[in-house]
């Protein structure tokens, strides 16, 4: 690690942080407009074109609002809780690769903040810490609804993190690695040829059941509908963030959206080929290079841009999917949630491991 390496790392961290922090405002706009359009309304459309400046207005409101600490709360933990929720959310994205590597001036630059050997185990571990934000907030608020919210959140987390971890075991078995870079690189291979089309070895094609389980459990993990029991506005008002206002509430909200971005990145990376290019982009790139308009370092940079674009498209799709599902499905009842987690998701994920084992043995 010399000086230039540190600078490159700093640029990567800065770019990622800016991207993550801008996810929340953009998503709040998408969520509001999207929900409105689905319900035959129009949504916020006054501030700027299509209401695009609305998130900035919201941010200004959050910042300048009075930020009171209620008298009955336990002050230290009350202030600490939004931070506990927010900081793990910011750090989890760092192991997800958003493009392959490029060689510039004799240096291999990887488009990933930290290339950890333990890969997504790190994400699970840090995301598991994020739950304490919810738990501490509910406890510190000294309010029965908040406490109920955090009790629900902790039991839900226990039941669903188990299935989530087990559903990913299948991916580890198929690609025989926990390093996200290796997994993505392996997904570039061709699984089989279907006539003229080459089906890539994306996780969704080799792990359909695992993908389904993972998709459902990440909804529970990020507390999004139909699993938003900890918030459950119609039952326990707003659950754990009932006593929070202004910027502290905004931090909970941002943590939720950033967690959504992280699990969308994880879904894209594990099951949809990560930065592997979308179908058709490869031939486009090849035709560029064959016609001679691109060569050498320019070609490499265009390749990186294409890969990043593919990754962003995939992540954006899943972010949209989160919003889409939220405005389609109603909330689970608590006993249904627990029953579904332990009696359906957990056995299914074990079956998935068994099937994957058989699949590997047969292939």
């Amino acid at each position: 690690m010399d000086f230039i390496d540190w600078i490159i790392l700093g640029i990567k961290i800065g770019a990622l942080l800016i991207a993550l922090l801008s996810v929340a405002p953009v998503m709040s706009w998408v969520e509001r407009r999207g929900s409105a359009l689905m319900q035959n309304r129009l949504g916020p459309n006054r501030v700027g074109p299509f209401g695009l400046i609305q998130p900035i207005a919201d941010a200004v409101k959050f910042m300048f609002k009075e930020d009171p600490v209620p008298g009955h709360v336990s002050k230290f933990y009350y202030v600490l809780a939004p931070l506990i929720a927010f900081i793990p959310a910011l750090t989890t994205f760092s192991v997800i690769p958003f493009a392959s590597s490029i060689e510039v001036m004799g240096r291999v630059v990887r488009f990933q903040v930290a290339d950890l050997n333990v890969g997504f185990l790190y994400i699970f571990a840090i995301a598991a810490l994020g739950i304490y934000g919810v738990v501490v907030a509910g406890w510190a608020s000294n309010n029965k609804y908040s406490l109920l919210g955090s009790v629900r959140s902790s039991s839900q987390m226990i039941s669903y993190e188990l299935s989530m971890g087990l559903s990913v075991i299948g991916v580890i078995m198929i690609f025989s690695s926990v390093n996200l870079n290796d997994i993505v690189r392996d997904q570039g291979n061709v699984l089989f040829h279907l006539g003229q089309f080459a089906i890539p070895k994306w996780g969704i094609f080799v792990q359909p059941l695992g993908f389904l389980i993972f998709l459902i459990t990440v909804f529970a993990e990020t507390n999004r509908l139909p699993f938003d029991l900890p918030e459950g506005d119609s039952e326990i008002i707003a659950g754990y963030h009932l006593e929070y206002g202004s910027m502290k509430f905004a931090m909970f909200m941002m943590a939720e959206y950033i967690n959504m971005a992280t699990v969308s990145g994880l879904l894209a990376t594990l099951y949809f080929g990560g930065w592997q290019m979308l179908p058709g982009m490869h031939t486009l790139l090849e035709s560029f290079s064959l016609s001679g308009s691109l060569s050498g370092i320019t070609y490499e940079w265009v390749r990186i841009v294409f890969e990043m674009f593919s990754f962003v498209i995939k992540v954006a799709f899943f972010m949209w999917f989160f919003v889409w599902v939220r405005w389609t499905l109603p909330r689970f009842r608590f006993d249904q949630l627990m029953g579904f987690g332990w009696k359906v998701m957990f056995p299914l994920s074990l079956v998935n491991i068994l099937l994957t084992g058989i699949f590997i043995k047969v292939m």
Binding site: L116, V118, L121, A128, S154
Partner: protein, 174 residues
């Protein structure tokens, strides 16, 4: 890297401070929260030792899952209001506490005097692990070859524990 020792002392210091807080704190829930910090510091120390898998598992299992259960139980039972009175505990309890602490300290001392720090490096040096292909691969290969019997025995023990729990809390008539 030469900054590691500084970080080691930092995390070790935080861990010791918070484990003292775990013991001396009056409210069970603050004890539990401090225990999470202790676990987190352990994980950080593992990460400094390049044992990334252990670090991730430490956070995932201990800080992430087990402590959530602890806090869940504390919040559910409302044990926070209870003030423990240690003066009432019997002589027998005090003696056994001292005894078990002694055994624990002796055990740690034994481990320390047989640890690689004093008797040299173990068979799995950093270079060797890198050659095998990372921590995860090294540990899993060992678990499923050399130590497969203890591994399976442990899982049977856990299974027995689970079955025992279900039997204990099962309602008689349903």
């Amino acid at each position: 890297m030469e900054i590691s020792p500084l970080f080691f002392y930092l995390f070790a210091g935080i861990a010791i401070a918070f484990s003292l807080f775990v013991v001396f704190s009056k409210s069970p829930i603050s004890s539990a929260f401090s225990l999470i910090v202790v676990f987190f510091c352990f994980a950080a120390i593992y990460a400094l030792l390049e044992a990334h898998l252990i670090a991730a598992l430490q956070i995932l299992v201990y800080a992430g899952a087990i402590m959530v259960l602890f806090i869940f139980v504390i919040m559910l039972l409302g044990a926070d209001k209870e003030v423990l009175d240690f003066k009432k505990s019997s002589v027998f309890l005090k003696c056994s506490a001292v005894l078990f602490c002694g055994i624990g300290v002796c055990g740690f001392a034994w481990v320390l005097f047989h640890s690689p720090i004093l008797i040299g490096t173990g068979p799995h040096s950093l270079e060797k692990i890198k050659m095998v292909g990372g921590n995860t691969r090294a540990i899993s290969e060992l678990l499923f070859s050399e130590y497969v019997l203890p591994f399976e025995l442990t899982s049977i023990l856990l299974l027995v524990g689970i079955v025992g729990c279900v039997v204990l809390v099962k309602r008689k008539s349903l």
